[in-house]
């Protein structure tokens, strides 16, 4: 600060102007993030709805020259592939989270925690490469199962970490209340600790589900694609994200339009899951604070 008081007014004006400039720049920054979001959502909704029809949900694709046709097979495929990932991922993810939180003060626990952090940052395509090498090459064909495994690899660390964090928020004296009654570890965790943390665990599961439901890269060479109804989880299958990609880079206008419609379905599902997860969490937080 200047010791020459007579200069202060001018300097102060400069400083205050700079302060306002900072606010202005920050608002611009926020706009730079929000504008693309709104733009993307707007395009998806505007272009997507104009090509959405009942047929899109109920029929199989037609050859591009014919027009019409739908993505019913891809919707079923996405549900199955994500279902496989979630079915395998919930027990492993929640169980790992429980281990890390409750019994993880040992080398296995520390290693697992570190690896979960690493795997949460794993480029999703790497999960695809691994499932390709271990499952597709071994089985000799692309399959919904391989896609599910690739997604599970991405799903588990997110769920494990959120479960661990949720359980750690439950105070230690809750565990002791049960243990001091001579109750074993399993019922203590499953009936006392886990129910108390359930809101946050579910939020983690839903956010992880939304994340893997939108993944494309790991499915490109695992679940692959198909123009027909899925014939089994050991067969290649279409999924919404891969179809969006395939249709978007195709040369057919009609397919581009369908890619937007598919994007609308995908975005709606993913955002719905996210919003539901967050409101669930918020409700829970209010309930806890009020109770």
């Amino acid at each position: 600060m200047s010791s020459r008081v007579e200069q202060a007014p001018l300097r102060l004006r400069v400083r205050l102007a700079r302060d306002r400039l900072l606010v202005g720049l920050c608002v611009v920054a926020l706009a730079l993030a929000i504008i693309p979001l709104i733009w993307v959502l707007w395009e998806v909704v505007a272009v997507g709805t104009s090509h959405l029809s009942v047929e899109f949900f109920t029929t199989l694709p037609e050859p591009p020259t014919r027009g019409g046709g739908g993505w019913a097979h891809a919707m079923v495929g996405s549900a199955v592939v994500v279902g496989i990932a979630v079915a395998m991922g919930i027990p492993v993810g929640v169980g790992t989270g429980i281990y890390m939180s409750e019994y993880g003060n040992n080398p296995l626990g520390r290693t697992t925690r570190f690896l979960c952090e690493v795997m949460a940052g794993l480029p999703s395509i790497v999960a695809g490469i691994v499932a390709y090498g271990l499952i597709v090459v071994t089985m000799g064909r692309f399959s919904a199962f391989a896609g599910g495994v690739a997604l599970a690899v991405l799903f588990v660390p997110i769920v494990a970490i959120t479960t661990q964090e949720a359980l750690q928020m439950i105070p230690r004296h809750q565990r002791e209340a049960s243990l001091a009654l001579g109750v074993a570890e399993a019922p203590t965790t499953l009936r006392v600790i886990l129910p108390a943390a359930m809101g946050n665990v579910l939020t983690g599961i839903m956010i992880a589900t939304a994340r893997v439901a939108g993944e494309t890269a790991p499915l490109l060479f695992t679940a692959f694609n198909s123009r027909y109804w899925m014939e089994g989880i050991d067969q290649p299958t279409a999924t919404i994200p891969v179809n969006i990609y395939a249709y978007a880079i195709s040369p057919f206008e009609h397919w581009h339009a369908q890619a937007w419609a598919g994007a609308l379905v995908l975005v709606a599902a993913v955002l719905l899951l996210n919003v539901a997860a967050r409101t669930l969490w918020a409700r829970r937080a209010r309930f806890m604070a009020g109770g």
């Binding site: 001091a180 009654l181 001579g182």
Partner: protein, 252 residues
């Protein structure tokens, strides 16, 4: 007058720090024994070793002997589960199971241990709530969440929950320190009632409370049992200088 529990050369250490440094002490049956001392003197650590709560702290190491009757509870041939049904514990902060109703809080442990079914469970609920002087306040809302109760009621529910597995001894770790004065008063009244049927050991930082509720008092300092005696004797005529310094408020 017989002793219900006793410790011989009990030491508890956490890693390199020893929190209890070889304590020999008796807890008399059908009486209240207060354990007092400044923070960090090992009183809570001592209490928790009486129902093997340190089993769940990885770095904790307990040596020496703790007898319940004539059995050393750290003997590996004895079941820690059965021990904990005989030696119950009430904690500093009321900790009812937050997702359970009042009723489920009480029946949770008896169900797990297979102690009772159906009507017997209902009887346990009523008996323990009556014993903990909570019955009249909650009998019409047994299925409400336990977290809806006031702090004092929650603590009495925790006492009822501990009584549900028919313990012989109740360990209380500063059970009233998180409560307001009137709730504290009710807990103290309750302790007075309960000692007719149970042996009670209570850790407290409040000397007036120790003087009011206990028959015997143990003064701990730096992990050692400095003095043990009848409460009125210890407070009016302490033998050790450290005891006198503490109860007259010169340190701690």
């Amino acid at each position: 007058m017989a002793e219900k529990m006793s410790t011989r050369g009990l030491r508890v250490s956490f890693g390199k720090t020893e929190a209890v440094k070889g304590v020999d002490m008796e807890i008399q049956a059908g009486a209240v024994t207060a354990i007092i001392g400044p923070s960090g003197c090992g009183k809570t650590t001592y209490l928790r070793s009486l129902n093997r709560m340190h089993d769940y702290t990885r770095i904790a190491k307990v040596t020496g002997e703790v007898f319940l009757g004539d059995r050393n509870i750290y003997d590996e041939n004895l079941s820690p589960v059965e021990l904990r049904t005989r030696v119950g514990m009430v904690f500093q902060r009321p900790n009812p199971f937050p997702t359970m109703s009042i009723r489920d809080n009480i029946t949770f442990a008896p169900k797990r241990h297979g102690l009772a079914r159906g009507r017997e469970l209902e009887e346990i609920v009523e008996r323990t709530l009556v014993q903990s002087a909570l019955w009249d306040e909650v009998k019409d809302r047994l299925d409400d969440p336990a977290t809806g109760l006031s702090g004092g009621q929650q603590q009495r529910l925790c006492i009822a929950r501990a009584l549900a597995v028919r313990p012989e001894v109740l360990l209380m770790d500063e059970p009233a320190s998180a409560l307001d004065p009137s709730a504290t008063q009710r807990i103290e009244d309750l302790i007075y009632e309960l000692k007719k049927d149970y042996t009670i050991a209570i850790v407290t930082h409040n000397m007036q409370q120790a003087a009011r509720v206990s028959d015997y008092t143990a003064f701990f300092y730096m992990g050692n049992l400095v003095e043990f005696g009848k409460t009125d004797t210890l407070f009016t005529n302490p033998k050790e200088e450290q005891t006198e310094a503490y109860i007259t408020g010169r340190f701690g």
